[in-house]
Symmetry: C2
Subunit: 154 residues, 2 copies
DNA sequence: TTCAATTGGTGGCATATACCACTTTCTGGA
DNA sequence: TCCAGAAAGTGGTATATGCCACCAATTGAA
């Protein structure tokens, strides 16, 4: 299975992960295209959907993404009327997010497409293989890379 | 095994891959930071290094990335004097890429940092685990998602 | 009660990536 | 030879993400 076209770089865990991410991302994006949503947007809508009007910080934490990045990613979805934000009743600093009715419809539409992508992928690699891969990725995502506060050497 | 903090979304292969990518990417980026390079840039320099003055298309193919995306990603590296491009002798359409002397120095510097990141990661998950993960990711990257060009059947 | 520290988000800036419309070269016929 | 098509890149536009500097509420003392 080792393609001679991918020498060396294959050793870098980060590069390998990114490369696979590009490939898989394009696949999911292609399948989701009819809905007008990208894979990331679908994931974000879904996370909001199951989050129960989550605060932005909660979403960012769940997706392991920078809070400001989340803010940026959210903009097109707000602009297109799929989600809306509102201040938390008890803490004005907190901004909560929820799907609009339109957003719920869109999510449902996209979910069918997502399902197709998911099934097609799992049919190719095998459900168990996919489950194991996800488990491994979740494991990586759960790691605690505490930096030793710089190493002014070198 | 289901962490209460990551409900549902964990089922999407794409979302899981992205999430792990964000986490791992930040880790590698942090470790590489002293060199001024991002993880992706390091990977790109390395690919160019081992590619033998590769054409842009060859790099894009090896990294499974869009050709135009590669062009954009290359710009900061050219601007900072780490890589340079030149026309192919036999085919004027082809643009080849190589590291500048400065780029070689930078790559070497970054390689030490990368090595540290790589080792730290593998110490956390285990070398074998990492190797298996990379193999699985390479497998995904090698898949052929041929879209059936819509489904106007019936 | 008052103020320093903390917490939650925003905006600006830079890189990462993709797709699409072009432009320039090549290539393969007729 | 000449032209239709293919092949390789470029530029524009849009989303994805991260970091940093800020601003606005909250909180926890003193």
């Amino acid at each position: 299975m080792s393609q001679p076209a991918l020498p060396g770089l294959t050793l870098c865990n980060n590069a390998t992960l990114r490369r696979a991410g590009r490939k898989l991302g394009r696949f999911y994006d292609d399948v989701l295209a009819p809905s007008g949503l990208k894979g990331t947007q679908y994931g974000l809508l879904y996370q909001i959907h199951i989050g129960g009007e989550p605060a932005m910080g909660a979403i960012a934490e769940a997706l392991i993404m920078d809070l400001s990045a989340l803010g940026h990613t959210l903009k097109p979805l707000i602009r297109d009327g799929f989600v809306e934000t509102f201040a938390d009743k008890d803490d004005r600093r907190v901004k909560r997010v929820r799907l609009t009715p339109q957003g719920r419809v869109k999510l449902e539409e996209a979910m069918k497409l997502w399902s197709a992508a998911q099934q097609r992928f799992e049919a190719m690699v095998g459900q168990e293989y996919a489950a194991n891969l996800r488990a491994a990725l979740d494991h990586v995502a759960a790691l605690d890379f505490e930096m030793p506060a710089a190493t002014p050497s070198t």
